[in-house]
Symmetry: C2
Amino acid sequence: MQAKALPGFRDFYPEDLALRSHIFATWRAVAACYGFEEYDGPPLEALELYTQKSGEEIVGQLYHFRDKGDREVALRPEMTPTLARMVGARAQALRKPIRWFAIPQVFRYERQQRGRLREHFQLNMDIIGEPSAAADAEVIAAAVDVLRAFGLGSTEVRVRLSDRRVLAAALGRAGVSDGELDGVLAALDKLDRSREYAVELIGRALGGDAGRVDGVMALVASLDVPRELLATAEAAPLNDCIDRLGAMGLGGFVDVDFRIVRGLAYYTGIVFELFDAGRALRAICGGGRYDQLLRQVSGVDLPCVGFGMGDVVLAELLKDSAFERSAPRRLDAFLVAVSGDDERAVLGLAHALRDRGVAVEYALRSGSVRRQLELAAARGAPRAVILGPDERASGMAVVRDLAGGSEARVPLTSVEQGRFD
Amino acid sequence: MQAKALPGFRDFYPEDLALRSHIFATWRAVAACYGFEEYDGPPLEALELYTQKSGEEIVGQLYHFRDKGDREVALRPEMTPTLARMVGARAQALRKPIRWFAIPQVFRYERQQRGRLREHFQLNMDIIGEPSAAADAEVIAAAVDVLRAFGLGSTEVRVRLSDRRVLAAALGRAGVSDGELDGVLAALDKLDRSREYAVELIGRALGGDAGRVDGVMALVASLDVPRELLATAEAAPLNDCIDRLGAMGLGGFVDVDFRIVRGLAYYTGIVFELFDAGRALRAICGGGRYDQLLRQVSGVDLPCVGFGMGDVVLAELLKDSAFERSAPRRLDAFLVAVSGDDERAVLGLAHALRDRGVAVEYALRSGSVRRQLELAAARGAPRAVILGPDERASGMAVVRDLAGGSEARVPLTSVEQGRFD
């Protein structure tokens, strides 16, 4: 007997699913306001879609296997390769810029630590076909507005914003060659977790050249004051992006932080992460510009910028929110049959009301009126509609307010139309 | 380069996803009217959840593999085992009857024929904890009402309704023993596809006893006139179910058809399928009572009845519906900057409108007003809001009707609140 879900996988009981639906609905509402269209792809893809281009870190964490048709396949660990594949297949026909979003469930086989999950849902928003920082600002604004839609302000969440091009140029001036750059960036991405480990990785990337390692670490130390790098020529797109976020009234959410690198190798420009202001949780959201990936996956040369926002950290952040405290009401009325002879009338009324979009239930098992009223209260119905022989003879129903206990006689013709008083 | 999804898997481009969303929204609306709560489980489960109890036919069609933690796992081929597991784990705490629905994506590795898919989405509705035919009638009514919500009537879709208990008793009278019953029922399930093959299977199930095979086939021939079996004692729940569907005004959808068996071994009572009236497509929906499964999976003894309705046959049926003809409108307005100096004002206005839930876009690249209006039309916006230096100076905006071509000057304070005339 199998009692539990696999480790790292979640069961969504109705109370859990209500929160998930609330998150999805908010994601969809903000995406719609930004003119984004929803798409989706398969949760299972050819393994090579991920192994070819996505960097080694992901490959070791895939759920992959050989299917009965002898194909190497994998559960999607992220949505971007699917997006690149789908856009690539119709690149000619799709009008640019493409503004698409999706809410895929994604899967990673991570060694479980501190309740870390192996699946989560992720809002993905991407703009494809526009290289300017206007697109970057647009997706960052959307990410911030999602959090604002959940009631979070700039004292609760922060955008950490950087541009790999600015950091790459600075690293170049510090003596890092083009060939060494990816290794150094990957190392800098580990700085937050362990400075020692990052230094070791930088040493490895620079062939053990202690002088240049010192140069890179001096640059890293200077990143606390970003003003200098913001004045470099390479920072023009980043400054444009910041200016646009300011014009949208979102400047107060943004901190420039050149230590943000983002682990994935495919980012090519502006990168960003959203965090809770207290930094108690992992990143809420991460994204950036990836102008080469589409060409690598599909052979079509189109610039892209986008982000992914997971449901798990977000739910953590919303734990004490108003939604969590107030369960949504499910039922409009519970119908009660006084005797067995009234059951057919209850069925007819139930169906008439449901046809009008009114949510109703009735007892599936015959029982006393008291028993049925108890069930009505247990189901959270605000009122009971009671049908007995007398009521049916006079064309009336008794409507009982289950919170207050008051009762009123209402014509059946009104009740049938969903008017209960 | 990977251009296509795996065979049998679908990419949902925005126009495809719009139809899927329409189907899901309708499913959810009807389920809500019936007081059902949504749940979900993991798409990946322990293999034994399926191999132990679900009948051999499913097992050979699973996507299954050994994960990195050496667990045998499988993509879910159906939702019912997960439902049984989840309910079993909280059987004490959950108030009965449980009325739950889910919309899982399910996966089967079937040999591909005539474009048959290897994944689809499936509405599952189940009532758990109520053994009477009232529950069966309730879920059948919900299935019919889903199709009615899509605009389909009794001339377009039909319910084929049976009860395994009635058929089993009749087969018993025809000489089939309890031990032979499952084999004969599985054979009868193939009758629609090939009579010859079904006869061969019945022969096998009855140990080649030609006399009893003839008896079973005589019974099969008599099933065309169900009146006789409806008068047997075993038909009491079925008659109650039919009576209740009649009281709900849905009697006109129902055909009693004792040839409906349903392939899955776990059904124990009333079974039903919904078909297009012309029988041009596969079943739209199938379900029934499965009173033993929960005990087998979780050790908790609770009666269940439910159905699954896939999105693929349904979408086929809706192909020419009104929804397909009218694409939903996405944008409320497209904002146009006359000069580069107006771009920041456009950004501010865009953000003010989005904050009110108004869906707006603007050009991410600077360009002539004509170019921006072309883009606005291409994105399907009903109107353009044009901001130039003169407008800004006078606190006005030009609102252009993109269908008619007429223009009006509207105070910016109105436009900011989403009032465009």
